[in-house]
């Protein structure tokens, strides 16, 4: 059989081959078999087609992580549409903006989030046309009940699972945008499946594997988490939002669930090493630990490897626009003189990379330049932002589109890329990608704020801290507590500045722009 190029066929195949096997598990709660997941997602497909969802449409997912939300993703894909997952704990105004921006045809929403979400949608002047409301999320029960309720009200006929083209849009993931609004990264079935097949080659999954799903679904780490186990008929173990942040509760769950393949940002792995009491549990099932999203401080990585020495560790690298495009396997032991973070490694086989200077010319091996990526993993573009999309790519003479990562890298003697820095104002904090401009835009919305500037400070212990500098109208300024409250209502929690500094006026360059270099000096 040739390799599948459309995501939902992974589920169709697994449901045919091993219908009774656990497809998705919620720790201590419930599980759903492949046959069950197939049936539940087919029923959602039927409902979506019935309300008018067609190939190429977008459908929002506003649910906590659960069997229900996994079934929702597949139901949307089977209807031929693309899913747009939002952070259910993110600010409702931001989520309403996202689902309005890509004009979703329908949304699947948990009751507890619905009121605020609809209020924010109404403020934008567009209520989501077809909302399927779930009383809660967990076990797949609530999606099942919601669909029965809809069916009793207005019966839908069975529809066909759509045979999408590999170039059709599969999902849109919104990331922080420098203009102050999140931007939608459009990814196709082929973008995802080419990456999933690469994962198969490198990690050699088998049907007895148990994969963790730690990252939220609006985060690109979820693509490996969800689709690699389902392709192989293995089991996906969902780590919910609350559990995922709590190393004391999470550590025993990884052991009890016999997780074999772990994938997360370094920050939760650091917390597990520090607070998880890992030596008290059995991790003999764990064979691969993947991490991505930010630099893993060597101090914390060393602590983790000494507690869990036997798994293979991989540093995976790639922005949402390409998902993983380079990888590096850590040596079995970390030598004592290793003080720099490990490289991001070599190029994955489903994409190509090159390093160019500011004029777009290739640099000699070992010299610094911007990392560009082309090939099957690279996004189609940003939703409804043709100019930003054009700027994101550098076409070559053969017409190939190279995505500009913005990361400055150099190749070391072993042929592995190492990260040097960024060419713009994007940062990574706890694996989340943050445009400092988006924080500034939010601060400017505060009525007392006259000027705002945010910078990132590197911190030995936590990696990165964000410091905001403000000047205010008429010498009166909000308290830091008020600023934290204001930011938490307008930004995801990881974007709320850690530190605030109120100034008479912010330092300026000779061209009257905010002098970020000067701010770094006074920070």
């Amino acid at each position: 059989m040739s390799e599948r190029e459309v995501l939902h066929y992974f589920l169709e195949d697994a449901a045919h081959l091993r219908p009774e096997h656990d497809a998705v598990v919620e720790p201590n709660e419930s599980a759903i078999s492949y046959a069950g997941l197939q049936d539940l997602s087919n029923r959602l497909r039927d409902r979506l087609v019935h309300v008018g969802v067609r190939r190429g449409d977008r459908v929002g997912v506003y649910l906590r992580k659960s069997i229900d939300s996994v079934a929702a993703l597949f139901g949307i894909l089977k209807a031929g549409a693309a899913y747009v997952p939002v952070d259910p704990f993110g600010p409702p105004a931001r989520n309403a903006y996202i689902l309005n921006d890509c004009s979703v045809r329908a949304a699947i929403v948990e009751e507890r989030f619905a009121e605020k979400f609809h209020a924010e949608s109404d403020r934008l002047g567009r209520r989501i046309p077809n909302t399927i409301l779930l009383d809660s999320a967990g076990g797949g029960r609530y999606l099942g009940v919601a669909l029965e309720r809809e069916q009793a009200r207005d019966a839908a006929c069975p529809a066909e699972t759509l045979a999408n083209s590999p170039n059709d849009l599969a999902y849109i993931l919104y990331t922080s945008g420098s203009t102050g609004k999140p931007k939608g990264v459009m990814l196709s079935h082929e973008n995802a499946t080419s990456y999933v097949h690469w994962c198969s080659q490198v990690f050699q999954p088998n049907r007895d594997d148990r994969f963790s799903s730690h990252a939220p679904f609006h985060f690109d780490l979820s693509i490996l988490d969800i689709y690699v186990p389902i392709k192989h008929g293995a089991t996906l173990v969902l780590i919910g939002e609350e559990l995922g942040k709590d190393p004391g509760r999470l550590a025993p769950v990884i052991s009890e669930q016999k997780i074999t393949m772990w994938y997360s940002t370094p920050s939760i792995l650091s917390l597990l090493a520090e607070y998880g009491k890992l030596s008290q549990h059995d991790y003999s099932s764990l064979r691969v630990v993947n991490f991505a999203g930010e630099v893993f401080p060597i101090k914390h990585l060393r602590a983790l490897k000494s507690l869990l020495p036997h798994p293979r560790y991989f540093n995976l690298y790639g922005p949402t626009e390409t998902n993983v495009c380079t990888y590096f396997e850590l040596p079995a032991t970390i030598s004592d003189d290793q003080i720099r973070p490990f490289p991001i490694g070599k190029t994955c086989s489903h994409v190509k990379t090159k390093v160019v200077d500011e004029q777009g010319r290739g640099v000699a091996p070992g010299e610094q330049g911007e990392l560009l990526v082309a090939g099957a993993g690279v996004m189609q573009g940003y939703w409804n932002l043709p100019e930003m999309t054009a700027r994101a790519f550098l076409p070559d003479d053969a017409g190939r589109r190279w995505y500009r990562t913005g990361d400055i890298v150099a190749e070391n003697q072993d042929g592995d890329y190492i990260i040097i820095g960024r060419r713009d104002r994007m940062i990574k904090k706890r694996g989340f990608r943050i445009e400092l401009g988006e924080i500034e835009t939010a601060l400017y919305r505060h009525p007392m704020v006259k000027e705002a500037a945010a910078i990132a400070l590197s911190d030995e212990d936590v990696g990165v801290r964000i410091k905001a500098f403000l000047s205010c109208q008429d010498g009166r300024h909000p308290s830091i507590i008020e600023l934290k409250r204001f930011c938490s209502e307008n930004l995801p929690s990881y974007m709320v500045p850690d530190l605030f500094s109120i100034q008479e006026t912010l330092p300026k360059t000779s061209t009257a722009k905010i002098d970020y270099q000067g701010l770094k000096e006074i920070a």
Binding site: P247, S267, Y275, S479, I480, K484, R485, Y494, L499
Partner: protein, 81 residues
């Protein structure tokens, strides 16, 4: 109890609100719902409570119900002494 409150206030100001005027932080200022304590800060706070007062905070107690302001944190500590 008053002593616990003032120790908590000092810790929270120093760790999570550097630069804030002490009088702005009251015993009822919302900490988690007010964006002052995120998940990482909550872990740090719990580690401080366990270390300083020699108590065990259960996973289900590390939530908005028990930790959202200085009064409720002090109440949690008091109940375990």
């Amino acid at each position: 109890m008053a002593e616990i409150n003032s120790e908590l206030k000092e810790f929270i100001l120093k760790e999570f609100l550097p630069g804030e005027s002490p009088e702005q932080l009251t015993d009822s200022t919302p900490l988690i719902t007010g964006g002052i304590l995120d998940s990482l800060a909550t872990l740090k706070l719990v580690a401080f409570l366990e270390e300083r007062y020699k108590i065990q905070v259960q996973a289900h107690e590390a939530d908005v119900e028990h930790l959202n302001n200085i009064n409720s944190i002090a109440g949690l500590v008091q109940s375990k002494l």
